[in-house]
Structure formats: C-alpha cells, structure tokens
C-alpha cells in the first residue's frame, strides 16, 4: 500500500487558487469551510512564495490523538479520516492541528460547532465507498475510483503533488536538481517528522 502525502512545490505555485476551487466544487464543501487554501508568504517582497495547504494526513496525527471520542482512523493508504457520526464538535482537533485543517460549520456559535469537516484526500469517509450518504457527509471518493485528489490532479503548474510519499518526493528531488533550487517540502517536517533530502 502507498503512503499518501501532499507536497507543494512553492517555486511553482502561482497562487491561482484553482486547487481551492476544484476542492470546493468536487465535494460541494459548505459555505465558510475551505478544505484547501493558498497562503502567500512574504507577500509583495522579493522571494515571495505561495503554498497550497490542506490536511497533511500526518504520521501519528495530533488530531486523532487528542480526539475525546476517537473518531479518527487511518486508512491503508495512510489517509487520516474521521467519522462525522461520532464527532461531537469539541474543537480539540482544531487546537492540535499544525495546519489549521479541521473546520466547523458554526465556529463562533456558542460552542456548538457542529461536525468537523476537513480534507479527506478525496477518500470519502467510513460509509460504503461511493455511496450517496458518503458523498453527502464527506464529498466524493476519487481514490475508490482509482484517481488521485482533484486539487493536485488539476494543478496547472503541477506545483501541488499528491500520491505516494516516496514517488512525489522523487519527482520533487529531480525538479530541484534539474532547476538548481527549491524552497523545500512545506510542512513535511511538522507532519511527517522528515523532509525531502536533496
């Protein structure tokens, strides 16, 4: 089985936000929730870079560890998913997540946040694969169809890479060697306790 990861090559990202739009449309993500977002660092200064970020599907995920109802589980592809039936909307995963991935339909509403929503790596949830109920709760399940996450698949500059960690790291490594520079695999140290050695 693969160990699925995301890698954003910030030297290629042009902050077009197509990944954000693709994600919102593919999963019909509710208003106010962004499973993926693009953050621009050093905006307007020399050396500005943009990074597309979503749930990184961490190794030993902090969200899963702090959840008081243990609603998280990791798939055979190392994708971190959760059950909206078990989630109580306490907000702990949101405190623990280094990447701001968990979000709630009612953030400021008297503590009754509703069921947490986050990037599923286009893998749906605990319901049967490709069922209507799975789509309504978690969005589409592209992995079950043999496809990779849509955000990365339709990235116009191929900045956002999704797939097996070893493979996307190799693609990134080859790019860096060929072009002679690279600003690194953003978030990998925090998410996977490792980085892509060039």
């Amino acid at each position: 089985m693969a160990r699925m990861k995301f890698l954003c090559d910030a030297d290629r990202c042009i902050e077009c936000n197509a990944c954000v739009t693709a994600c919102k449309n593919e999963h019909e993500v509710p208003w106010g929730i962004n499973r993926r977002r693009v953050v621009t660092l050093n905006d307007g200064k020399p050396g500005e870079r943009s990074v597309s970020m979503a749930c990184m599907h961490c190794t030993d995920a902090p969200c899963a560890s702090v959840c008081p109802v243990n609603c998280f589980y990791t798939t055979a592809d190392a994708v971190v998913l959760h059950s909206k039936d078990l989630c109580i909307g306490c907000g702990y995963c949101f405190y623990a997540c280094p990447f701001g991935a968990p979000q709630y339909p009612r953030v400021g509403n008297f503590g009754s946040r509703g069921k947490m929503d986050k990037c599923t790596y286009c893998t749906g949830g605990p319901e049967p694969d490709l069922s209507t109920i799975e789509y309504e709760k978690y969005g589409s399940n592209r992995l079950a169809e043999g496809k990779l996450p849509l955000c990365a698949e339709m990235c116009s500059t191929k900045a956002l890479l999704a797939g097996d960690g070893e493979m996307i790291a190799q693609i990134y490594r080859e790019r860096v060697i060929k072009r002679g520079y690279g600003s690194g695999a953003w978030g990998w140290k925090t998410a996977y306790r490792e980085t892509v050695a060039i």
């Binding site: 962004n34 953050v39 050093n42 243990n70 405190y95 520079y181």
Partner: protein
C-alpha cells in the same frame, strides 16, 4: 542637419552611459554573470520558524484565520493534553480521595457535641443562599463529570459501552458542559454577592489556623460566620470559578479574544484548574456531609443545631443572639440576621 543632430545626441547619450557605467562598475562586478538566482532571497521554512514560532502569510479568502500556514504548537498542546493531563487529573482526584479516606479512617467522623442547647435550631443559610449554593453545586457536578469525560471518557468508558453509545453520551456531555456553564457562572456571581462580606480574612482566622481548625485535637477555636477553612473554600470557588469562566468563554467564542495559541493555553489552564477544583470540592463535599455530623443541615434545611453552631461558629452565634430580641430561635419566615 538631422543626421548631425542624431549623431551628436547619440554621442551625448553614449557618454552619459559610460559615465554611469563607470560609477556603477564596482557594483556590477559583483553581480552574477548568468540569470539571477530566483531563490537568492526566497522564503524558507527553517528561516521563517527562526523569526516566528508560526508561519503566517496572506490569504485571499475571507477567512483570515486561514492565513496561518503552520502552527507546530499544536503538537505541544497534544503532548500536554494526551501525555500529561490524564496523569495530572488522576493524581489530583485519586490523591484527594485517598487523603480523605485516610482522614476518615484515622480521625473518624467529627461528632456533634451535645450541650443544654442541643435540639434548638438557628437559621444559618436562607432560601436564596441555599438556592445559590445548590444551583452552583449541581452545575459543578455535571460540569466536572462532563469535563473529566473529555480526558478519561475514551480511556475508561468507551471500551465498556462502545464507540457509538459513547459518542452519543459525549455529545450530550458536551452540550451540558457548554450550556450549564452559564448558570454556574451566574452562581459564582451570586456567591460573591451574598457571602463576600463574611469572607474577608481577619485576625480570628489566623488564630483558627494556628489551632489547626479543630481538626487536630478536641479544641474549638473561635470562628465567626465562616471559619478560615470555609473562607479558603469561598475564595477558591470564586477564584477558580472566575478563572474557569474566563478560560471557558475564550473557548466558547473562538478567536474573539485570542488566537489559536491563546486557545491552547486557555484549554491547558482550564483543564489544570478543573482537576484541582474537582479535587478540592471533593474535600468540601466530604466535610459537609460524611466528615462532620450536623454540618449538612446548614445547606439542607438551612437551620443548624444550636449546640453545633456554638462549638463551630461561636462568635457568629453571639452576634446573632445579640441582634435578635427573641433569642437565638428564629422563626422560619424571618430573614437571616447577618
């Protein structure tokens, strides 16, 4: 004519360029001969983490909180919440239960000492005081249990009743936690209003503490309406209650007053004070019920045995008797004399 002008203009321009180049020469010499390196001043994760513990940028969606790219502090909060908190919580609460059991089996129940005044009653807490106490207390019990459920539920209860039943229970526990927080906070306000003036520390308290509060030995040190121990409970409840309210509100209304790291700290304080608060209230429950004969009546019926009041709160009884023309025996409809 036109050609001559053009030539002369070109010549002047060239001379100017040469002059500029001559001034600029030392700078140019250092510049790379090939295309500029695009990463020469590009941002880099390690460098940004050296400048700031979080990586923060600009975002074009309306949710500005999402401009935080990476906050590794989430991992530290997780270590605290999952690594330390279960042990701290268990140590505080089990430690207190063990200490109370030890006290009960060595000292035993503090007995009511009979005197010629036994059987006569004196009003200690009026209806509003008892309402305040029990509203706050019942909220506290549910808040305490639902709070402990956040730490211990998945470890102790979930393996027994299964994930679905536990999630349903935890959902209701969470609702009760966020909604009963409000009457609890109101209760804290009422407590300050009705009991603050009887809880100002004074010299009598110091004597009471020096005499060991009557817990050690048989002597009953002088005490007013509240002895030093009760004053400690009052200040603990109002102080911890306020702290729990403030830290809780920060979590109930995310991002109104603090950022993500602020909420992590608030949660840490909330849980640490929470377990200490629960442990301290266990001692309060013990001494108000099992630990001391005659004490429960004060919050039960509101009227205590005069003999009990005389031995535990002698100065208060004297004050009450001096104030009440008809002696210590108050009729129930009368407001408490304070």
């Amino acid at each position: 004519m036109r050609l001559g002008t053009t030539i002369s203009r070109t010549f002047v321009a060239m001379m100017a360029l040469v002059a500029v180049a001559a001034i600029d020469a030392p700078v140019r010499a250092q510049a790379p001969t090939t295309a500029p390196n695009p990463t020469a001043d590009s941002v880099n994760e390690d460098l940004l983490f050296k400048q700031d513990p979080k990586i923060h940028g600009r975002i074009s969606i309306p949710d500005q909180k999402a401009a935080n790219l990476i906050q590794p502090q989430g991992r530290e909060w997780r270590l605290f919440h999952e690594g330390w908190m279960p042990w701290i919580g268990a140590a505080a609460i089990l430690g207190m239960i063990a200490a109370l059991a030890l006290f009960f089996f060595t000292r035993g129940r503090i007995k009511l000492e009979h005197s010629e005044e036994s059987g006569r009653k004196i009003l200690r807490f009026n209806g509003f005081e008892r309402f305040t106490h029990w509203m706050t207390a019942s909220c506290f019990v549910i808040l305490g249990l639902s709070g402990l459920n956040y730490i211990f539920g998945k470890r102790l209860l979930m393996p027994i009743i299964g994930p679905e039943a536990f999630a349903t229970l935890a959902q209701w526990a969470k609702y009760s936690h966020v909604y009963l927080a409000w009457p609890f906070m109101l209760g804290i306000v009422f407590m300050v209003a009705v009991w603050l003036r009887d809880n100002i520390p004074n010299k009598i308290d110091w004597q009471w503490i020096k005499a060991g509060g009557g817990f050690i030995g048989k002597a009953h040190p002088h005490a007013e309406r509240f002895n030093a121990g009760q004053k400690v409970v009052f200040w603990m409840v109002t102080g911890f209650g306020t702290a729990m309210g403030i830290t809780g509100l920060m979590m109930l209304f995310p991002f109104y007053a603090t950022d993500i790291n602020g909420m992590q700290v608030m949660q840490g304080i909330h849980s640490l004070i929470g377990v200490v608060f629960i442990a301290a209230i266990l001692a309060h429950i013990y001494i108000g019920s099992l630990g001391m004969e005659g004490a429960y009546d004060a919050m039960g019926s509101g009227k205590v045995d005069l003999a009990w009041a005389r031995s535990h709160h002698d100065l208060w009884v004297e004050k009450e008797q001096a104030k009440t023309a008809s002696g210590p025996q108050l009729r129930p409809h009368q407001a408490p004399a304070e």
